[in-house]
Symmetry: C2
Subunit: 221 residues, 2 copies
């Protein structure tokens, strides 16, 4: 049986979960408190982080490498365009969200508000939370600009770029940190992606001590 070692609100895990579900690859989800540095887990993954995917007897780490592997081994339904320019744009945006958005927004809101408490690492740093709340506006505006020109973030078809973005935004939405009133096109995009069957498991996530707001799993939010 395939297994995904994950934590529910990790955007990197969510991106892999969305890819797996879209491609109908069944996995058992195993929560992994990676910060506790369990020796068994470290043996599976010396980088000591999630996600780790056990598939076909192989252990795989690094969400970007995992998603590219899934795309190559299970090309249908495709999450990458066929042309090199289109594929570049998908990868550029995946990096944008997993690097820039992650550093400027996710790490400053989600990690301060949730991860610190779950890991027993103290209280949120209010200057980080403030910086994250400011930065997300700029990023929502950038998404608005992209979606004003394109049906999906990287072009006319849904790709890994949409899953990367939705993975971060859904985790932030779990703690009510996304202002969906800022852009109607961004909200429409999220409503469309949220209603896909691949999204169901993510909308069912529950983190003890952090009940999600009622709009989180509501398809008509």
């Amino acid at each position: 049986m395939n297994r995904l070692f994950h934590v529910p609100l990790s955007p990197f895990c969510r991106k892999v979960r969305l890819s797996l579900a879209e491609k109908k690859i069944e996995v058992e989800l195993v929560e992994e408190r990676y910060w506790e540095q369990d020796p068994d887990f470290l043996r599976r993954n010396p980088a000591a982080k999630v996600p780790v995917l056990k598939i076909g007897g192989k252990m795989m780490a690094e969400s970007a490498a995992i998603c590219e592997y899934l795309e190559e081994k299970h090309p249908e339904p495709s999450l990458m365009p066929r042309d090199a320019e289109g594929r570049y744009e998908v990868r550029r945006l995946v990096s944008w969200f997993d690097d820039k958005f992650h550093n400027e927004v996710t790490s400053k809101l989600l990690y301060e508000r949730v991860n610190k408490k779950v890991m027993g690492a103290g209280y949120p740093d209010s200057s980080n939370v403030k910086a994250g709340a400011k930065a997300i506006k700029y990023h929502l505006d950038y998404m608005h600009w992209l979606l004003d020109h394109r049906r999906w973030l990287a072009g006319d078809v849904m790709t890994l770029a949409d899953f990367a973005a939705a993975a971060h935004l859904s985790a932030l939405d779990y703690i009510s940190d996304v202002d969906w009133n800022r852009s109607a096109v961004v909200k429409d995009w999220y409503a469309t992606i949220k209603s896909r069957p691949a999204f169901r498991s993510i909308l069912a996530d529950q983190v003890p001590g952090f009940p999600p707001p009622s709009h989180y799993a509501d398809l008509d939010f």
Copy 2:
């Protein structure tokens, strides 16, 4: 003419320079003081970072996406294996170096010692430098373990993973932060990669105020 906007010691720029040179794609190198947020540069790249590659009239950002694009458009000489498992391993290691190694080592040594001064952002934080000097040992040992099993980092052929690693190590070697005596196999690997024609431009780099040590450009270091 193709152009690469870069800074000389950036490992992300060096990885792209190595890919371009290996594939014999000519580019004009343009130094870009990206932290000064020049409006022209921001228009080329809203992420406000280097490298930015101007190629075929197109502006491209994000080093991982650029390298994959170059590989797809100019497949020879190849820097990626043909099989999905091999390609996964290359991408995993590129992320290892550009994410984990970068956070734990490069940002703590190179950015503290050089970037802060160049950017006028103050003095090195000695606790960061200490943490970086400790972490690089663990990473050199991990490379030793890989190279003890394989000819190159990701397998039997030279790939983007070797360029990602060499990009970080060469930038750190410029400030004498790599202890080449720690592992003979790692030193041999670096001597081999350093002697490639693609490496020449990197060995000729000069950063004002930071003269490189004599061993930096020496192929017999």
